[in-house]
Amino acid sequence: MVILAFLLVVAVTGLFAVHTVRHALYWRLHRDDPIRPWMSVHHIAHSYRVPPYVLYQAIGLPPIAHDKRPLRELAREQHKPVSILIGELQNAIAHSRPPYPPPPPQPPPEGGRAP
């Protein structure tokens, strides 16, 4: 009985070890967190080191300072599935990184100074 339990625990721990090493390697090689519906645009901009206005532009919204709304809520407001919104953001992120040129500085808002 003890031998069986020992073998079972060793097998499960071995699988966990492989899983952990794969995750840790992925972590080392891919620095980007997957985009999830709970994330706000500012959080995604922070995660991907992209200016927030680039992401707002991509989803057709004016940049809002301290906007904490999650993507789920933005998708509901825009009447589109959250997966479409995530796709638009991923596309914008890919186009703001090499080999594409860096995004231009944020344009000033209409009739005022840039925030």
Partner: protein, 214 residues
């Protein structure tokens, strides 16, 4: 949309009070992604959206309150549960042994289940209450363990603020790997003891040798 995503969205909008509520309910036993919420809160602190002391204070308070509700449920609502538990584990004697074991190792169990083996936390709370583990000792190990858990994961969230999901996945794996290694070590030790030939005291050996000679 899963519950975790929904709660994290709420955390982003409403802040530390959501963390307080989620940790309270989670520590009573409702399965919620509490560790991921702590890491996310750390990330929000780093981005300037939340106050560090507010997060640490409310998260610790929610977790400690939830644990004590679990303990109270075991202690004062647990007579029926204790009777059933004693019939499951093999009678009153076994339950008495469990109480003894809990008195001897309970502190370490409570402390480790707060920050390392967190899925066991709600069960340890209930069992501590059922076995009548002294409340002041429970509270001491609970507070130290929960504060360590909250500070550890909020700081991880601050440090890896741009990798919330991945940090939770990697550190969650490390926890289970540690549990597996610990279980393997304990079972391995038992196996070695079981397989090792029994060494008799010298007097017994001499008796056998004399018998064999005659």
């Amino acid at each position: 949309m899963n519950l975790g995503d929904y709660l994290l969205g709420m955390l982003s909008v409403y802040g530390s009070t959501v963390l307080f509520g989620a940790l309270l309910v989670g520590c009573v036993g409702v399965p919620l992604p509490a560790t991921l919420m702590l890491i996310a809160a750390g990330s929000f602190v780093e981005q300037g959206d939340m106050n560090l002391w507010g997060v640490l204070g409310l998260a610790s308070a929610g977790a400690i309150l939830g644990d004590n509700i679990g303990y109270a449920l075991g202690r004062w609502g647990g007579h029926h549960m204790a009777r059933r538990l004693s019939s499951w584990v093999g009678g009153e004697n076994r339950l008495r042994e469990a109480v003894k074991w809990s008195e001897r190792w309970g502190g370490m169990g409570i402390f480790l289940s707060r920050w390392l083996l967190t899925p066991l936390g709600p069960w340890v709370n209930l069992i501590s209450g059922i076995t009548g583990y002294p409340w002041h000792r429970f509270l001491f190990f609970d507070v130290t363990g929960e504060v360590l858990w909250v500070v550890l994961y909020v700081m991880l969230g601050r440090f890896f603020s741009n990798q919330v999901q991945t940090t939770q996945e990697v550190f969650g794996d490390f926890t289970w790997l540690f549990v597996g290694l610990l279980a393997a070590a304990l079972l391995g030790w038992q196996l070695i003891r079981y397989l090792r030939p029994v060494s008799l005291p010298k007097a017994e050996k001499d008796k056998i040798l004399v018998k064999d000679a005659t």
